[in-house]
Symmetry: C2
Subunit: 211 residues, 2 copies
């Protein structure tokens, strides 16, 4: 990525805006040369499918999806407005986050679900006898079919934030195991009720399409 | 449940078949009195919605769904055939599993996804700023909206198997964290590739509808 930025330096004019679509923002934005930073707006459309290739193209892929934009202190507001216009033209919703917050959000909201799907299908294969999964399993493991080379790159680039999210999840699961082991009905009911409320509050904020 | 079985003893005739629809089989089947076991076939339709109530009824709820049937050594084959006929009449697919295997399967395939959804929405709420979830998050957390009283009962009844599945998942996640922490690209790629293959093999066995 770095060498490609260097090539761009000679081509920028005063109104040039440059953006990218990478799933991790800190790594990319650390590589943008100072000479380009006034023109650069980091981008990440929170949309995508678990299949790749032109044959899966959809005209409404970005409709109502969040499109994260990350700027430098040096980024020109004109460059930001131009990239925002492009996002609106694709029917997506621009939202500004700094690179660190973005990477932490996607670690939990996108990368962790992919890790869980990959782990769970392999646990599922170890079950003896007829495989009797229903809808909740299918939903959970849908993204286990995502292209390995792409996800190897994403998970590696965001490995610190993903590692933290995984460690946090393990701690939460251990707590839940304690509630189950002691068969504490009040705590169990409270946990599940809090989850319904949390999902309800978050639901209104989520965007429509896959990613 | 036990007292309801006792009431049934006086009503059974030679061709009576009794079944249930509970999500956990060991607890129910331990309570069936010996006098009823020749007539009893444990049942669990692997279908359902994350909403309850008659207003959400669907005529195709069971279509192509697995319907687990569990028998005793004493269960009369006529009773089994009658319950199987009912399952076929609802367009579902009967599959026999002993109560222990059933409870282990659903711990991983249905109960664990519900626990994960409940845990993850609460982690999601703790993220600062605009919530930018996409499709993989929405799929993963859909079942966090399931009715707490029902799930309190299910998770409590199957707490041993669910606890084991959670402990196994935590061990797997810890392994994955090591792969990430060492940034071992080969191991990461292999893990993701194995997951795609596992999902592909399991996919053909999964049933169509939610649950």
């Amino acid at each position: 990525v770095g060498s490609c930025f260097v090539q761009l330096i000679e081509t920028v004019g005063p109104t040039t805006a440059i953006t990218d679509c990478c799933s991790v923002k800190r790594t990319v934005m650390a590589e943008v040369p100072p000479a380009l930073r006034a023109h650069f707006v980091g981008g990440h459309p929170m949309a995508g499918l678990h299949v790749s290739g032109a044959q899966h193209a959809r005209s409404d892929l970005f409709r109502d999806a969040w499109w994260v934009l990350s700027t430098y202190a040096e980024t020109d507001v004109t460059a930001l407005r131009r990239v925002e216009s492009m996002v609106y033209a694709l029917d997506a919703r621009p939202v500004q986050l700094d690179p660190h917050d973005h990477d932490e959000h996607v670690a939990l909201l996108s990368h962790l679900p992919h890790v869980l799907a990959a782990v769970l299908v392999q646990m599922g294969e170890r079950l003896p006898g007829q495989f009797i999964a229903g809808g909740s399993w299918r939903d959970l493991t849908r993204v286990a079919g995502s292209p390995p080379p792409l996800w190897e790159e994403i998970l590696s680039a965001n490995r610190h934030a993903v590692g933290e999210a995984l460690a946090q999840l393990r701690a939460e699961l251990e707590l839940f195991e304690c509630v189950l082991a002691t068969d504490d009905h009040d705590a169990l009911r409270r946990y599940l009720t809090d989850a319904v409320a949390a999902r309800h509050r978050l639901g209104g904020q989520a965007s429509r399409e896959s990613g």
